[in-house]
Structure formats: structure tokens, C-alpha cells
């Protein structure tokens, strides 16, 4: 039997992501990836798109940054392209114009936040108001070009292998096997962790059983439910997961909840476009030369 397996990053791809090679620190890359995925998520909600398409888009988005640097393409453009592509893959295509309008609003809102986040003035004075773009204006055509290019680049750089396996079915199976479906809070917590994990690179790094095990581990620990965890009978071994991998996935997820400084926020917001990334990199240069 030869079923096509979904691709995962190779060790070389993990050790040297193109963005890090271009001088973006690992922490910052992870934050930018997470922000790009949040944009996809919000766009999905505004478009009333199915969650499977949104999740697929986020996974394609995460894969993309193992073959491309954020200096070359912006996380906004690629997120938009990923959502457009994933909607076709999941047989629920969306209109280009709808997607472009939604992304435009999200990006303008980010720009607005960036403008007023650093200043001392209170936010209420500068309420964000979205003014729709003109129907035949150049903004639309620029965004449309960016969208078409992004979709094609995702396909090309991933070798057209856009096979994505989502974790939800596996979660339900595993919870049944562990007898954890009695309580409603366990499945919903674990489900939530799986969704949050979409903002991290784990779906491009680990097989689904490992990620599902991590979500179950976090959910049961949070709720104080003990599972057999001593050698010879470790529950995650049932699912062919390695403890180190489960732990690493959990680490990626927990990292999302860490407090960020306003400066960190502003830095991410300023780097949504490749232009922003490039100017940030320019600003870093003198600092590197000093010592």
C-alpha cells in the first residue's frame, strides 16, 4: 500500500529556516508566524469560511516559511494566498474580492494599531474606522496581483504537494480510547489546544498523533486528570508518540500564551509586509557592526 504521506520539514529545513538565514531571530520568526496565522483565522471568521479551510491554510502557511524567507514575501500576502488556496482544496472556494476586502481591513487595522500603540494617548481617541477601498482603485488591483502571486508561490515552493491532514478526527479517536469523552471539558480543552497549535509551526514539524498527544497532555494536566505515565505503561506510547516530541509540541503551544511587551507587539505589527521586514533588517545592521 502506498498512500501519499503529508510532507514535514526535514532536519536541514528546521535547523536553518530561510528567514533566520536572512537575519530574523528565531523568536521573532515564531511571533510573525503566529501573527500571520491569526490574520488567517480572523479573515476566516469574517468570511464565514469553514474551519477546515482555515486550518488547512494555516498549515500551508507554516510549511511555506521552511522554504522561503519573510524578507522575500510578507506574512500578510502569503496568509491571504494560503487561505485562497486552501478554500479551493477544501471545496469551498471564496471570491477574490471578498478575501481582498477582508485582508485590507485587517491590515489597515494593524497599521492603525501600530500608529497609536506607541504614543501615550488613550486608544479611545483614535477609534479605528475602516474606509472601504474604491471598486476599481489601484489598491484592489495591487492586492489582487499579490494574491495571485502568493497562491502560485505557495504551490510552486511546496512542489504542489498540498496534502494536509487535520488532527480533529484523530483527537476524537484517542479520547475515546483513553475513556476521556465522559467529561465535556476534556475534549473541548484539547480541541482548543489543537486550534491554538495552528498558530505554531508544529503541523509542519510533527506527525498528527504527536500533536494530538500534546493537546491531550496539556488538557489533562490543566484539569488535573492523571493518565498512566510511568515507564512500561505510558499512554502516549499507545499513539506512537515520543515523549520528547510531545513535550516539544507542548512547548510551542505554551509559548503562545507568554506575555508580550508593547514593543514586541509593535515590532510584529510593523513587519507584516516584506517592506516592513526589510526595513527592520536594515535597522538591525549597524547594531551588528558595532562590537
Amino acid at each position: 500500500m502506498s498512500t501519499a504521506l503529508y510532507p514535514l520539514a526535514s532536519l536541514v529545513q528546521i535547523e536553518k529556516t530561510p528567514s533566520r538565514e536572512d537575519g530574523i531571530p528565531e523568536e521573532l520568526e515564531l511571533d510573525l508566524r503566529a501573527h500571520g496565522c491569526k490574520l488567517i483565522h480572523e479573515a476566516g471568521i469574517l468570511l464565514k469560511q469553514k474551519q477546515v479551510a482555515v486550518a488547512t491554510a494555516q498549515i500551508l502557511f507554516q510549511r511555506f516559511w521552511y522554504v522561503t524567507s519573510m524578507k522575500q514575501f510578507g506574512i500578510g500576502d502569503i496568509g491571504m494566498g494560503a487561505l485562497y488556496l486552501a478554500s479551493k482544496l477544501e471545496e469551498c472556494p471564496i471570491r477574490m474580492r471578498d478575501l481582498i476586502n477582508v485582508y485590507d481591513e485587517l491590515l489597515r487595522r494593524d497599521a492603525h494599531r501600530l500608529k497609536y500603540s506607541t504614543g501615550p494617548s488613550s486608544s479611545s481617541a483614535h477609534e479605528f474606522k475602516y474606509i472601504p477601498m474604491s471598486y476599481f482603485g489601484s489598491t484592489f488591483y495591487d492586492l489582487k496581483d499579490a494574491l495571485v502571486v502568493a497562491e502560485m508561490q505557495i504551490l510552486k515552493r511546496l512542489g504542489f504537494n498540498v496534502n494536509v491532514v487535520l488532527p480533529y478526527g484523530t483527537l476524537v479517536n484517542y479520547l475515546r480510547l483513553l475513556g476521556l469523552t465522559e467529561r465535556e471539558d476534556v475534549p473541548s480543552k484539547a480541541w482548543g489546544y489543537l486550534n491554538d497549535a495552528l498558530q505554531t509551526p508544529v503541523y509542519a514539524l510533527y506527525a498528527v498523533p504527536t500533536i494530538v498527544s500534546a493537546a491531550i497532555m496539556l488538557a489533562t494536566r490543566q484539569l488535573g486528570i492523571a493518565l498512566p505515565s510511568s515507564p512500561e505503561s505510558c499512554w502516549w506510547e499507545l499513539f506512537d508518540a515520543d515523549w520528547e516530541d510531545v513535550w516539544s509540541v507542548a512547548g510551542y503551544i505554551m509559548r503562545l500564551y507568554r506575555e508580550r511587551t508593547p514593543e514586541d507587539h509593535a515590532r510584529v505589527l510593523s513587519m507584516v509586509t516584506k517592506k516592513g521586514v526589510r526595513s527592520w533588517l536594515e535597522d538591525q545592521k549597524p547594531a551588528v557592526l558595532l562590537p
Binding site: 502506498s2 501519499a4 504521506l5 503529508y6 510532507p7 514535514l8 520539514a9 526535514s10 532536519l11 536541514v12 529545513q13 528546521i14 515564531l30 500578510g76 485562497y84 488556496l85 479551493k88 482544496l89 471545496e91 469551498c92 477574490m96 495591487d142 492586492l143 496581483d145 499579490a146 495571485v148 502571486v149 497562491e151 502560485m152 504551490l155 510552486k156 515552493r157 512542489g159 504542489f160 504537494n161 509551526p201 508544529v202 509542519a204 514539524l205 510533527y206 506527525a207 494536566r221 505515565s229 510511568s230 515507564p231 506510547e237 499513539f239 506512537d240 515520543d242 515523549w243 516530541d245 513535550w247 516539544s248 507542548a250 512547548g251 510551542y252 505554551m254 509559548r255 507568554r258 517592506k275
Partner: protein, 424 residues
């Protein structure tokens, strides 16, 4: 966002690869590194959590223990392929063009590195208003998901100079069954029909198991090599289906008319795997008859031909018939029994039973590919012939000429008869 330009912008420039007849186009870019099999390990991501709970409960004491063997549903991490960008079409040397379909040209080409002969299908992307066409996505995805001995193998997808140049690289197969049937000196033997049907059914079962509908099964989409193996090809209309079918339903503009199931003809939007099985039935009949079963000119004629052969549907043979959108627009002819036996006088009763189950009116009771594989027809005499014992033919697609039939046509199958010990 607006500053997308530079080398990645699609342009109208045409690739030289498919316009030049020259056999050796120059490789003007560094060819991407040959897919180096990079080593992958499991403890890949090394991010260490900062504020999470206690460190792992399991300490080093377990490190020496052997890992439990993997479940077959969870292959080791190392078996997953890495992310591999598309290579350039200049990795291939163009040989000749095979055919021009409605939405793409197929070339025969040689892999410059391995020397393998492949088929390159160029996708037409010029007039796209909705980005990369969803039909092409479905085709590529279906081929990648449905890898099987009897499904044409997809090797990779390569790109030309610009973003509008995309080629699907597939294994090159010498013949298609349609052409073969028309040039063959005599129709396939029963034993050969069984082998072909088993191969077709196992491919279809494989696709259906992976939630893929082919939606265009017909003899011209079945390729055959010189070793008696057929490969299902052209997934241009294929798509994933779900249970239940998504909003909006499915289009009725599928399947070549002669192979189209009655429920589609009558406007069903929630059809499923059974439509492929009807096509398989038509192909089975075509292999027996050596000509297409229903050669209708239009949909109305098609429906009346079906009714004539199988008798009009009744509330027993098709309970849901009247609920179909177009059922009330046609008047049923007077009841009449099925004419299948008269049409196929030489097939055994098991063979006729299989055919009638494939051509069952009610999609709910139509036989599935999985069930059909276990049908007694395949275990009764004559048994399916081993693929190696099939004759070989000159390939039209490879530009080989068929030798003029020798004088007083010597039995073209003479060699086969010597090899064959079974009776058929």
C-alpha cells in the same frame, strides 16, 4: 502589500520549452538541487518551553529501552517527505507531443538525469480569473493521493520560466485502451477482460477509499502498457467528495456522455461513487462488445438507449427515481424486460450478473468496486490471464508506426496461443 513585483510577477512571456522544436533548450537558470534525501530525525524541533510545568516524568532510565514498533497507521517520522520546491521543466528534454486535450497539451519527454521517458501535461493557465484553477488542483491532488499500481503515476509538478507554465510529470504509458480496441485484430479474450476489469476495479476501489471520485472513466482514459497493465488516467474532472456532500452539491457536467450514469442524466446533485461504477459497467460492456455500449448523440437519446437496453426503471429497481429533478420531465416507455442477455449472448451468467449489478439503476444498490472485486465472475473459468502474457503493440503515442498487416493475416495472437494452456 502593494510592492509585489520583481522576478515573481507572472508575465505573458512564453516559455521556450514548448515552442522550440530544438531538442536541447538551454538551462539558463541553476537547476534546483536534485532532491537530496535529507536525513530527518524525530527530535527535530528543539524549542524548549520556558514556563511550562515540570520536566518530563520519564527520566533517562527508559532511554535504553527499545521503542515500541509503530502502528501501521503511524509511519515513522522519517517516512514523511520534506518540502520540495518544484523543479524546472528544463530538467526534461522534449521529444514529441502526444495529444492536445481541451485544457492542456501532453508531451513525451526524457528526464535528463535518469533518462526515463515521461509524459508531461502542460496546464493551460493563461485565461485564469480565479488564480490557479481548482480543476487542476483537484487533478494534481487526486493523482498524489491515489497512488496505485493501476493509476497513472505522478512523478512531480514542474514549472517553466514564468508562473503560467506548469506541467504535470507522469509515467509514460504506451497505449490508451480506446485506440488499442480500435486497432486490435481481434477483441480481448474473456481471460484478458477479467484481468483488465480486476485492475480497473482495484484502481477505482483505491480512489473511492481515499474519497476521490474520478468522474470521467472511459476507455480513452485507461492507459495500457506493453506488459498487460492498465492505468487509470486523466483526473481532470476528479474531486474529493464527502459524506454528506458539501453545500451547493456537485455539478452535472461530468462524465463523457456515453459513460454517464442515469442519476446524473436526470439531474442529481448528490451523486457519489456509484457514478464511477456505472462507467465501469459501460467499460466492461465495451470490452466485451469491442465497441462502446451506448453511442448516443444527446442526453435524451442516451436515456432512451438505457431504457431500451435495461427496461425502464420501476419502483422496485429504482425507488428514488421520481424524486430526481428531471424525472417528471420525461415520459417512461411501456414496461419491458431487460435486453442484456440478448445483447451479450456469449458471456457467462456470472459475467452477465456482474454487468447488470454495475448497470443497476438505483445508485444505492449498484455494486461497489470493493464488492465487484469479489464477484464470482473472476473466480470461474477461464481465470484472469496473467498480465505478462498479454501481447504488445506498437505505440501510437510514442510515434511508433504500426507495421502493415502482413499478407494473409497471420494470427496476430499466435504467440499467445502457444503460451496459453487454459481454454478460452
Amino acid at each position: 502589500m502593494s510592492d509585489v513585483a520583481g522576478p515573481s510577477t507572472p508575465s505573458r512571456k512564453r516559455s521556450r520549452w514548448d515552442t522550440e522544436e530544438d531538442t536541447t533548450p538551454q538551462v539558463d537558470k541553476p537547476v534546483p538541487k536534485r532532491r537530496t534525501k535529507s536525513k530527518v530525525t524525530t527530535s527535530a524541533g528543539t524549542y524548549t518551553p520556558e514556563r511550562t510545568a515540570t520536566p518530563p516524568v520519564r527520566s533517562q532510565s527508559v532511554a535504553g529501552r527499545l521503542r515500541p514498533s509503530h502502528s501501521r497507521h503511524v509511519p515513522p517520522r522519517t517516512e514523511h517527505p520534506p518540502f520540495m520546491p518544484s523543479r524546472s521543466v528544463y530538467c526534461y528534454e522534449r521529444l514529441n507531443s502526444i495529444e492536445e486535450g481541451s485544457y492542456g497539451v501532453v508531451f513525451r519527454a526524457r528526464d535528463k538525469e535518469t533518462g526515463d521517458i515521461v509524459a508531461l501535461k502542460k496546464l493551460k493557465l493563461d485565461e485564469e480569473k480565479h488564480g490557479f484553477p481548482i480543476t487542476a488542483l483537484r487533478e494534481i491532488n487526486s493523482l498524489m493521493v491515489c497512488k496505485h499500481e493501476n493509476v497513472v503515476g505522478i512523478r512531480e509538478v514542474v514549472v517553466g520560466d514564468t508562473l503560467t507554465q506548469v506541467f504535470i510529470v507522469m509515467d509514460f504509458i504506451e497505449h490508451d485502451l480506446k485506440t488499442l480496441l480500435s486497432v486490435m485484430p481481434s477483441p480481448f479474450l474473456q481471460s484478458e477482460v477479467k484481468t483488465l476489469m480486476l485492475q480497473l476495479l482495484s484502481a477505482v476501489a483505491h480512489c473511492h477509499e481515499r474519497w476521490i471520485l474520478h468522474r470521467d472513466l472511459k476507455t480513452s482514459n485507461l492507459l495500457m502498457n506493453n506488459r498487460g497493465t492498465i492505468k487509470v488516467a486523466d483526473f481532470g474532472l476528479a474531486r474529493r467528495y464527502g459524506d454528506p456532500v458539501g453545500v451547493g452539491g456537485l455539478t452535472q457536467l461530468v462524465v463523457t456522455l456515453w459513460y454517464r450514469a442515469p442519476e446524473i442524466l436526470l439531474g442529481a446533485t448528490t451523486y457519489s461513487t456509484a457514478i464511477d461504477m456505472w462507467s465501469v459497467g459501460c467499460i466492461f460492456a465495451e470490452l466485451l462488445l469491442n465497441e462502446p455500449l451506448f453511442q448516443a448523440k444527446g442526453e435524451i437519446e442516451m436515456i432512451s438507449m438505457i431504457f431500451k437496453l435495461l427496461g425502464p426503471p420501476t419502483s422496485q429497481t429504482w425507488p428514488d427515481f421520481l424524486n430526481l429533478p428531471l424525472a417528471k420531465t420525461i415520459t417512461l416507455p411501456a414496461p419491458q424486460p431487460s435486453q442484456l442477455r440478448q445483447k451479450f449472448p456469449y458471456v457467462t451468467s456470472a459475467g452477465l450478473d456482474l454487468l447488470s449489478r454495475l448497470l443497476a439503476y438505483d445508485p444505492e444498490t449498484r455494486i461497489s468496486a470493493e464488492e465487484a472485486l469479489k464477484h464470482p465472475y473472476f473466480t470461474e473459468s477461464p481465470l484472469p490471464k496473467h498480465p505478462d502474457l498479454f501481447g504488445s503493440f506498437p505505440s501510437a503515442a510514442a510515434g511508433e508506426k504500426r507495421r502493415k498487416p502482413d499478407s494473409p493475416s497471420a494470427p496476430a495472437r499466435a504467440a499467445d496461443y502457444k503460451l496459453l494452456t487454459e481454454f478460452d
